[in-house]
């Protein structure tokens, strides 16, 4: 199946793929089932069955294989939306990579992540950075190899930003020709083209986003110790699913490694002009221009 969101392979010819995605049959029930929900099933061997009614059913095995049984046209954007979102998130948990609910951009050759719950402004922030000329590593889910020999690395994968129509309008980006994330959904895929960071970069800071109602309450403050651990754990993408898979110890070990980089609470005021200011301030901070 075509996956236009992923950049073409530029490595050596004929290597063995790390992750296989193929169309095929998915069993109704996994063997030795340890969790059975209406969407997610987990098998005794850690394999996952993820079913989105009307869209597709996915089987995720061994952190390497994804089988897709579409309930609609296989090339519909809807199928890719769930594949590259939740399904890749489950695969990360299987592989021992930490998926953070965060956007991530390159500033001064380093990966800077901004985490927070849905609707907090991650994608809008990512789009603002890209517009200022910075490169994108992730718009919604930042995948981290926390145990890389030189320190935590961010693994970029998907060169697009998902934006709601009102955000496109606010950023004066035309929706003409953009592919909707789903049929009849007012959320669109904005490709970043050459602004995509293709190679892994060292993770240098994680910000936990929080909105404040008043500009005077805006602040940046370091989180340490248990507070940092709890906040990061809360920002793990598909954390509950990971815990059901028995991956909580693995997540905590990864988070422990992340404490080697600064973890900061970033409280910013609502509104586009405040967002632009946040972009300038962060860029200055991480390009070493002071604040």
């Amino acid at each position: 199946m075509p996956l236009p969101e992923l950049p073409p392979w530029r490595g050596a010819e004929g290597g063995t793929p790390e992750i296989e995605v193929r169309l095929g049959n998915v069993p109704d029930q996994l063997p030795d089932i340890i969790h059975r929900g209406p969407i997610l099933q987990i098998g005794g061997d850690g394999s996952c069955r993820y079913n989105m009614a009307g869209v597709a059913c996915f089987l995720i095995e061994g952190g390497r294989r994804i089988t897709v049984r579409p309930h609609m046209a296989a090339d519909a954007p809807d199928v890719r939306l769930f594949l590259l979102g939740s399904v890749f998130g489950l695969l990360c948990h299987q592989r021992g990579w930490l998926p953070l609910h965060a956007c991530c951009v390159e500033i001064g050759g380093r990966a800077i992540a901004f985490a927070g719950p849905s609707g907090i402004g991650k994608s809008t922030l990512a789009a603002s950075f890209v517009r200022q000329g910075y490169r994108l590593l992730a718009d919604d889910v930042t995948v981290i190899d926390a145990h890389a020999p030189g320190g935590p690395l961010v693994i970029p994968a998907i060169g697009r930003i998902k934006l709601w129509r009102d955000t496109l309008d606010a950023l004066k980006i035309s929706a003409d020709g953009l592919e909707p994330c789903r049929n009849r959904m007012e959320k669109f895929q904005v490709p970043v083209g050459g602004r995509f960071q293709l190679t892994r970069l060292p993770l240098t800071a994680i910000h936990l986003l929080d909105r404040v109602s008043d500009e005077r309450q805006a602040e940046l403050l370091p989180l340490v110790g248990l507070q940092a651990v709890e906040t990061l754990l809360g920002a793990v993408y598909r954390r509950q699913a990971g815990e059901r898979m028995g991956k909580r110890p693995q997540m905590l070990r990864a988070i422990h490694r992340l404490l080697t980089v600064p973890i900061l609470a970033l409280r910013y005021a609502q509104g586009l002009s405040h967002l632009q200011q946040t972009v300038y301030r962060m860029a200055a901070r991480y390009e070493g221009r002071g604040e």
Partner: protein, 274 residues
């Protein structure tokens, strides 16, 4: 395995007030601490619950898809719980996109439905949402009206019209106790006692008296003045505003009243609001 007690109402009809009174009641009539995050009866249309309990990718789902999963959420929660679960509800009592009841009767232990004079609801709702009275009156007459998108912490809740909302619950709400806001205001102790009995709460008459006193409207107002209230719609906008019945008389024009009566006359008459 247990089930749910739904505390249902159209918005701005006294639901929060009743929940605070019940919170006080189960604590033996203690004053409700506005600084605490403790909430009696969390919202049934919780986005976080759907994500956490069912691993639902709500971000990527349509409102209809998320709604269709809510009966699964309630089944899972009821299976896991040992004691009755209380939930605040603003949805109309209706069927999901998939055609099954949003609030499964088999999982419902009790329902309390609170109704308030729609003329007072209009004034209170306009204040709460920041829309003007004419827009609010149109909203209350809109069959497609929905609630709860702000901040995306809540799932979409279909209200439909005020009349549809009331009739849907009176017709389909299982094990239903109907309360009037106006009655809660006039005789809080009596109403709270009836609710406690209906919900089979273990509360003595003394607890009921204390809880009714601790959550008198002026006490809640004073607490909001002092500490703010986490459910207030925006900074500087009061949640507990007037707490009176018939306030519409000095807030609505005759034309506005006429529009509400034109939209909702039959249901108003049925409930004695004519």
């Amino acid at each position: 395995m247990t089930g749910f007690c739904w505390l249902a109402s159209y918005p701005k009809s006294g639901n929060t007030w009743l929940r605070l009174a019940l919170q006080s009641l189960i604590n033996g009539g203690k004053e409700v601490d506005f600084r605490s995050r403790e909430t009696f009866a969390a919202i049934a249309a919780s986005r976080a619950d759907l994500e956490d309990v069912l691993d639902a990718p709500v971000d990527e789902m349509t409102d209809d898809e998320a709604e269709a999963l809510r009966p699964r959420l309630y089944e899972t929660q009821a299976r896991a719980a040992a004691a009755p679960l209380f939930r605040k509800v603003h949805d109309a009592c209706m069927t999901t996109y998939a055609g099954e009841p949003l609030f499964p009767p088999a999982l419902t232990l009790k329902t309390v439905y609170i109704v308030r004079d729609p003329r007072d609801v209009a004034v209170s709702l306009a204040h709460h949402t920041g829309r003007d009275l004419d827009q609010t009156i149109a909203f209350m007459g809109d069959p497609a009206a929905t609630f709860g998108l702000a901040g995306k912490r809540q799932l979409r809740q279909v209200l439909s019209t005020w009349s549809f909302h009331v009739e849907s619950w009176l017709r389909d709400g299982p094990e239903l106790l109907l309360l009037r806001y106006e009655h809660m205001l006039a005789a809080p102790e009596e109403v709270l006692g009836r609710v406690a009995l209906h919900l089979r709460l273990d509360a003595s008459p003394m607890d009921v008296r204390r809880a009714a006193a601790a959550t008198r409207f002026d006490r809640l107002r004073a607490a909001e003045d002092r500490y703010g209230f986490r459910e207030s719609p925006a900074a500087g906008v009061r949640f507990f505003r007037r707490g009176i019945a018939g306030g519409w008389r000095d807030s609505l024009t005759p034309a506005q009243v006429a529009r509400i009566v034109a939209n909702h006359g039959p249901v108003m008459a049925r409930l004695g609001y004519a």
